[in-house]
Amino acid sequence: MIHFVLLISRQGKVRLTKWYSPYSQKERTKVIRELSGLILTRGPKLCNFVEWRGLRVVYKRYASLYFCMCIDEDDNELEILEIIHHYVEVLDRYFGSVCELDLIYNFHKAYFILDELLIAGELQEPSKRTVARLVAAQDSLVETAKEQTSSITNIIAQAAK
């Protein structure tokens, strides 16, 4: 299973973290520090897997962002690499050519998408279309909720007048 998902910028700034195994806050910072030191220093032509504390970390770089996933020893690394790519494709489709800034300003949306893709450390939905549909449904609900609230505030405002 996947133990955690990390997004780190090239400067070592954390952009997104999701922990599927229990780690305390202290351990988390330690893990992030160790891994960013390990991954950011690797050259471009080396393989995308790193052995770390008896686990594997699969990472892939997209522009200035490193997507890392930590998996068990006997998992299929190439598959995880593709899961990362899968996630990036979904993000891309959702944001329309995603960039780091999208993730910084809308990181909660990135979380929602990740929740649709992975659950409890396993891939739950291999179809991009389904994920997109679900996220869109949630968003539309949010939109209607917003409209409602704005209309209500309008009514209240008018009534107050």
Binding site: K13, V14, L16, T17, K18, W19, P22, Q25, R28, T29, I32, G43, K45, L46, C47, N48, F49, V50, E51, R53, G54, N76, E77, L78, E79, L81, E82, I83, H85, H86, F107, H108, Y111, F112, D115, I119, A120, E122, L123, Q124, E125, P126, S127, K128, R129, T130, L134, A137, Q138, L141, V142, A145, K146, T149
Partner: protein, 902 residues
């Protein structure tokens, strides 16, 4: 509010503490608006983990939300369930989640399945009655739900393969449909039909088909199809291919599939991508177990990977080499590993590679000389990371040498070890474990061949003790080594004059805070004061291989007990019976429990040698009747020593205790058998000589040549050499090691079966001949033990020759039963149980050397006791008490043995 919470999440993500805001996130999930609720759930899943205090506030909301009409609310709640529900709260939400399995929305069904999977991981018992639901969901209309169901099924099958064999057909048909693109287009990924589902299915099939021919036969066609259809230009295609290889290597082997797997591997290895090389190496490691010959065509690729700048790839390659190590290539591989070990500073991996080096060296060592040198290197570079057992193994190897045949080889081995250690001692900063080995070897064999004078060795030892003055274990080893050397000197009739630095060292140790060091120093003083004869019986030269018999029935106490009973004492009632009685002794029992539980908490004296030491003082004390036993054991109850019942019960309780740790420690041969087997194979090898190795080399070079001509690549001669040495004649060596194994097996059997018998002999001997309370007789235990220790050798020889198997037949029957395992254990008499005990003790890797010391040590303690005033005696008693308490937990898992024996 929502914005604030999102910011809080961001703050937490950056590593700052945001715990003050958790409660607001919890409040948010109570909100009616979905927008707020969803953010609240997101924040809660990110903030809290399953054992946080606030979880209890969330459970109610989750229950409500799971019943919601809006499926998005349900989804959000299920997401939180997966992350936050712990073992205790599972029952609260379980029925609702089971209902949701039939929800009309596939997204909800999918998440419900995943939630159940999570519950299964957390506590498999809570959902065990729901397994049939997983099977049902496998036939779900929606491929997403079906794919999700594969996750829990994979876990279930991992735990229990046999009850899912009936699903093989359905899995195969699903895989077939997937591979034939029957699934909706939406599941395609880079032109591959639902690759993630394929991978999951292949993993499951690999589990189901392992060593099951019938199940595997069903899979052959579909796996072969996938092999053909996979597009190896895309990454995901390779992922599926890799999974196919894993599957093929795990199921019952099929020639055709193996061939295509080998093809795929060679494609991986030849590709430029490091990722694929990595996967190729990994796959090769899997396949090599089934068909070792495929490694040979890839040898150059493997060596390229070994020299690659990429660390990960290198490690993976070492893993592969580790898997393919034979006795022909072990030297090259271990050398490489040690080189690599020196170049890294990641402790985790260093430990791993060091333990692998040790394992390989123990298993395949071509000669003991080489073994010792390799171990020296490993200790030097990764000393503190190496398991202490390894050090004990090394000491034992040096002590026992080649075993039966010739003594000159042994002494050569020892003197070379001594020499190398004296050389290494010159280097600064050696790891503690290694120093312990060095001290022990120098003490035992430093002066054995007469090359070095005692004063030279002692000088070195004093240097060690001074240089590492903050490491007490090393100091203790050094003092004992000093004692041994002086004892040998005295025994040889030479006059001993202590070096001045040694004197000052002793002064320091006599006042040491560590009771262990202090005692060793006193022992040393006492030994030096004795005459040659006495010293020889305390510390016989080169006696570390002798066995020590321990009278665990405490028969020497019989007189004492008899006497007490005659005086009106109650006979001993076992503790288990006593607990049932409702009288005053109940109270005392509690006291005992307290005392013993008290003992469990101490962890200071963990060194195995002390078990024996602590065990013997009461024995010797009792036999000489200098001090009543219970006082030494339990000063808290010393006021009761005159009242008779407590004496008997105390004695009994010590007996109970002693049974735990005072089990006979005939520890040598058994765990040693791997090294004897290596020595066997060594001798074989020396007979065969170098010619065999040469032969494999030439055979190899031929294949290499063909390879060269085909590929027409310039390859450096070193590489070729390396390749040749790595991939040399696998089949021959395997046979050899197998025979080595066989020959070593009976010997271990023999020893096992012999143990109870000899202990009985000794016990009876001891009961008949009561130990006279003579002080000069302190050599008794060691002397006695030498007699039975001769037997196993004889028996072993007898067994090795298949003609004389009269005794072994009897023994074998008993051993077979003994080895059979815990179920029958209880039925066995105490002696057999004792044998078990000893087994586990041996397995825990106790060291022989300290034990001899201890016998010597305790006896001298007795001497010191009688010769010096009562003050010293008191302090020694106290010391013994501390040891007794401290020692009880050190015997492996005392409670377990209590159950078995009691």
């Amino acid at each position: 509010m929502k914005e604030y919470i999102i910011r809080l999440v961001y703050v937490e993500m950056l590593g700052h503490d945001a715990s003050f805001g958790y409660i607001h996130a919890v409040k948010m999930i109570h909100d009616d608006s979905l927008l707020v609720k969803r953010t609240g759930y997101l924040a809660v899943t990110l903030f809290l983990n399953e054992d946080h205090d606030l979880i209890i506030l969330i459970v109610n909301t989750i229950q409500k939300d799971l019943k919601s009409d809006n499926y998005l609310v349900v989804c959000a709640a299920l997401n939180a369930v997966c992350k936050l529900i712990n073992e205790e709260t599972i029952p609260a939400v379980l029925p609702q989640i089971v209902e949701l399995l039939a929800h009309p929305k596939e997204a909800v069904r999918k998440k419900a399945i995943m939630a159940l999977h999570r519950f299964y991981q957390k506590s498999s018992s809570s959902v065990s009655h729901l397994v049939s639901n997983f099977r049902k969901r496998l036939c779900d209309n929606d491929p997403g739900v079906m794919g999700a169901t594969l996750c829990p099924l994979f876990d279930l099958i991992t735990n229990d393969v046999n009850s899912y064999k009936d699903l093989v057909i359905s899995f195969v048909s699903i895989l077939k449909q997937v591979a034939e693109r029957r699934l909706p287009k939406a599941y395609d990924y880079h032109q591959m039909p639902a690759p993630f589902i394929q991978i999951k299915l292949l993993k499951i099939l690999a589990l189901l088909g392992s060593s099951d021919k019938q199940a595997s036969e069903n899979m052959y066609t579909v796996v072969g199809d996938i092999f053909r259809k996979c597009d190896s230009s895309s990454n995901i295609g390779n992922a599926v291919l890799y999974e196919c290889i894993c599957c093929v290597s795990s199921i019952y082997p099929n020639h055709k599939l193996l061939e295509s797997a080998a093809d795929a591997i060679s494609r991986f290895l030849k590709s430029d991508s490091h990722n694929l090389k990595y996967m190729g190496i990994d796959a090769l490691g899997r396949l090599i177990k089934i068909s070792p010959e495929i490694a040979e065509q890839h040898q150059l690729a493997v060596i390229d990977c070994l020299e690659d700048p990429d660390d990960t790839l290198k490690r993976k390659t070492f893993e592969l080499l580790y898997k393919m190590t034979k006795s022909t290539n072990v030297e090259v591989i271990v050398d490489r590993m040690i080189d690599y070990m020196n170049s890294i500073n990641d402790n985790h991996y260093k430990t791993e590679i060091a333990s692998r080096c040790v394992e390989l060296a123990e298993q395949f060592a071509p000669s003991n000389q080489w073994f010792i040198q390799t171990m020296n290197k490993v200790f030097e570079h990764a000393g503190d990371l190496v398991n202490i057992k390894v050090a004990h193994n090394l000491m034992r190897l040096i002590a026992e040498g080649f075993g039966e045949d010739d003594d000159t080889a042994d002494s050569q081995l020892r003197s070379s070890a001594v020499e190398s250690y004296l050389h290494i001692l010159g280097e600064p900063k050696l790891p503690s474990v290694f120093l312990q080995v060095i001290c022990w070897v120098l003490g035992e064999y430093g002066t054995a061949d007469g090359k070095y004078s005692a004063s030279y060795i002692t000088g070195k030892l004093c240097d060690v003790a001074e240089a590492y003055s903050n490491d007490e274990t090393v100091k203790a080893y050094a003092v004992t080594a000093l004692m041994k050397i002086y004892a040998f000197e005295i025994a040889a009739g030479r006059k001993v004059d202590m070096l001045p630095e040694c004197h000052s060292l002793m002064e320091e140790f006599l006042a040491s805070h560590s009771t262990d060091l202090q005692q060793r120093a006193y022992e040393l003083q006492a030994v030096i004061g004795l005459d040659a004869h006495a010293v020889e019986s305390i510390l016989p030269s080169d006696a570390s291989c002798e066995d020590i018999e321990v009278d665990k029935a405490l028969s020497f106490l019989n007189d004492y007990i008899q006497e007490s009973i005659e005086k009106g004492a109650q006979p001993y009632i076992p503790e288990s019976e006593r607990t049932g009685m409702l009288n005053i002794s109940n109270f005392r029992n509690q006291d005992h429990h307290e005392a013993s539980s008290h003992g469990l908490r101490f962890e200071a004296y963990e060194l195995p040698k002390q078990t024996v030491q602590a065990r013997i003082p009461p024995a010797s004390l009792a036999s000489t009747e200098l001090v009543p036993v219970p006082e030494a054991m339990y000063p808290r109850e010393s006021y009761q020593t005159t009242t008779v019942p407590s004496v008997s019960s105390d004695a009994a309780s010590t007996e109970l205790k002693l049974r735990l740790d005072g089990v006979q420690k005939r520890w040598g041969r058994q765990t040693h058998f791997p090294s004897t087997s290596t020595s066997n194979s060594t001798s074989l090898k020396t007979v065969n000589g170098i010619t065999q190795v040469d032969g494999s080399n030439t055979a190899n070079s031929r294949t290499r040549e063909t390879y060269d001509s085909r590929k027409q690549v310039e390859i450096s001669p070193e590489k070729q050499k390396l390749a040749a040495s790595l991939f040399g004649g696998p089949s021959k060596t395997e046979k050899k090691s197998a025979t080595g194994h066989k020959s070593s097996k009976p010997s271990s059997h023999m020893v096992k079966s012999h143990a109870p018998k000899s202990s009985m002999e000794v016990a009876s001997e001891k009961t008949s001949v009561q130990q006279p309370p003579d002080l000069l007789d302190f050599g008794e235990p060691t002397v006695k033990s030498t007699a039975p220790s001769l037997d196993p050798f004889k028996d072993l020889e007898g067994l090795l020759e298949p003609t004389t198997q009269v005794s072994s037949a009897v023994n074998h029957s008993s051993t077979a039963a003994v080895t059979k395992s815990p179920d029958i254990m209880g039925l066995y008499t105490e002696t057999t149980a004792g044998a078990h005990h000893k087994d586990s003790d041996i397995l825990s890797g106790l060291s022989k050397p300290p034990m001899t010391n201890m016998v010597g040590g305790t006896t001298t303690m007795q001497v010191a006791q009688s010769s010096k005033g009562p003050n010293l005696k008191d302090s020694l008693e106290k010391d013994a008490l501390v040891r007794q308490i401290g020692v009880t937990p050190s015997s492996q898992n005392p409670n377990l043995f209590k159950d078995i024996l009691g």
